[in-house]
């Protein structure tokens, strides 16, 4: 793409050629960092809901001065012809509105109609209207059920749930609900590769066509070296989004369980919230899954104590039902402050045994926390379990 960017520079001006990007990804800040890194200075629009309905990227589209498409993924010769050519005005008038125009046009439909509510929900989320997140998510989820025969609505409901997961308004189960909606959407249109990538982004290594965001560390380093401040990412990167494609491999059989006899004091859900999500590979067999665990101290009850060892997680699965790639995980979160309350994420992979559709993964976290009320600090164990069921 930077090749396009550089080559089109001489053609661009305020009245002539316009260069526009549309990104089909969940997190706009990551694309913003990419644009900063590559020096892309043209407008880039954010289309997380796949409103363009493209099924693959990248796409390069040539549109003439009358709004008519003149080329898709052109050769260099066709592009040059487009830039130099003149195009006649269409003889038939352009339709006043097409589906794409009215999809987001609040007020274009009867108030309270399905289309009106859909447009309002999408607009509220795309333009981040304060206080509208929950209502918009509810609308899109209800509509995904009402139009269960149209997988686009399931995809959009999944995008909405993941948006809320990445916001301060997150609700338990948002991430898993997003994955479930996307899985249903993809089942309805298996050739929709943009939807497939949204699952693969969080899925196991064996299903990754490429590492999704491994370029970010290089980008941040090179931007900083230029004397600029890299764009803030907002939504934290998870290890699976950086992972290289690789076959599943059961591992660390030699790892020692840190609390085999269960002697360490238990912390209940009132202190530390644990959320899990399971992202299966998108192949027809769906045998390998990424397991996502997120721990956070309950607001007003506890906070992390960072003056001791990092949080660790131990996982175990019944060998008859599945194999884990790792059992002992360590938090990558290393706050410099003495106390903190950030989300601590852990990921592992599970391969279901042949002929098995469900496995239960049990585990626990060992961590240092301090009570908010009287300041008592303890080393505690937080138990949890997740049922992993093939979609």
């Amino acid at each position: 793409m930077p090749g396009w960017h550089d080559a089109l520079l001489p053609w661009r001006d305020d009245d002539g050629l316009a260069v526009i990007g549309i990104t089909e990804e969940q997190h706009p800040a990551r694309c913003r960092l990419f644009a900063q890194w590559k020096g892309l200075d043209w407008p880039i629009l954010w289309d997380p809901f796949n409103l363009t309905e493209s099924k693959v990227v990248p796409l390069h589209v040539l549109i003439d001065e009358h709004g008519i498409v003149r080329g898709v993924n052109p050769t260099a010769e066709a592009l040059e012809e487009f830039l130099l050519g003149e195009f006649p005005a269409p003889t038939t008038p352009r339709a006043e509105h097409d589906a794409g125009a009215t999809l987001l046009e609040v007020g274009a439909h009867a108030q309270g109609s399905f289309e009106d509510l859909h447009a309002r929900a999408l607009s509220d989320l795309l333009w981040r209207v304060p206080g509208r997140m929950d209502a918009a998510v509810d609308t899109l989820e209800r509509q995904a059920i009402e139009r269960a025969d149209d997988p686009r609505y399931a995809f959009r409901a999944g995008v909405a749930r993941r948006m809320r997961y990445d916001s301060v308004e997150r609700e338990p189960g948002d991430f898993q609900a997003a994955l479930d909606h996307w899985t249903r959407a993809l089942a309805g249109d298996p050739n929709q590769y943009i939807w497939r990538r949204r699952i693969q982004q969080y899925g196991p290594r064996m299903d990754k066509p490429y590492p999704f965001y491994d370029w970010i560390a290089t980008a941040q380093r090179e931007i900083t070296a230029r004397g600029e401040v890299p764009c803030e990412l907002r939504a934290a990167l998870t290890p699976v989004e950086l992972a290289q494609p690789a076959d599943f491999r059961a591992g660390d059989g030699g790892a020692s369980e840190p609390d085999p006899s269960g002697r360490i004091q238990r912390a209940d859900d009132g202190w530390i919230a644990v959320e899990s999500a399971v992202a299966f590979d998108t192949s027809a067999s769906s045998r390998v899954a990424s397991l996502h665990f997120a721990l956070r101290p309950r607001a007003g009850r506890a906070h992390w104590n960072n003056e001791a060892e990092p949080t660790i997680v131990w996982l175990d699965a019944d060998a008859a039902h599945g194999r884990l790639d790792r059992q002992l995980l360590e938090s990558t979160s290393r706050p410099t402050a003495a106390v903190s309350d950030e989300l601590r994420s852990f990921t592992a992979e599970l391969e279901l045994a042949d002929g098995v559709d469900t496995a239960v993964v049990r585990g626990y976290a060992l961590t240092y926390v301090c009570e908010d009320v009287d300041g008592t600090c303890l080393f505690v164990r937080r138990d949890f379990a997740v049922e992993v069921t093939r979609p």
């Binding site: 793409m1 090749g3 396009w4 550089d6 080559a7 001489p10 009245d15 002539g16 316009a18 260069v19 526009i20 990007g21 549309i22 990104t23 089909e24 990804e25 706009p28 694309c31 990419f34 407008p43 880039i44 629009l45 954010w46 289309d47 409103l51 309905e53 493209s54 099924k55 693959v56 990227v57 796409l59 390069h60 589209v61 040539l62 549109i63 003439d64 001065e65 709004g67 008519i68 498409v69 898709v72 993924n73 050769t75 260099a76 010769e77 592009l79 040059e80 830039l83 130099l84 269409p90 339709a95 509105h97 794409g100 125009a101 987001l104 795309l126 333009w127 050739n191 990538r197 370029w215």
Partner: protein
């Protein structure tokens, strides 16, 4: 005006992939109005009538 296009690094897709595009040659471009990635601006493709447009649809991954 003629510029050399020899350096263009075109990301050519297979014919099947082109078939998965909503853009049809000879048909009007979809009318889309979306926020930009900064969240500070909104762009409506219809506002660009009268100008030629090269549109890149992509993802940073």
């Amino acid at each position: 005006m003629k510029h050399t296009l020899a350096l263009f690094a075109l990301a050519l897709l297979s014919p099947a992939a082109v078939g998965q595009s909503p853009y049809r040659v000879g048909a009007p471009a979809p009318e889309l109005r979306l926020p930009d990635i900064t969240g500070e601006h909104t762009l409506d493709l219809a506002d660009l009538l009268g100008r030629k447009v090269v549109l890149f649809e992509f993802a940073s991954w």
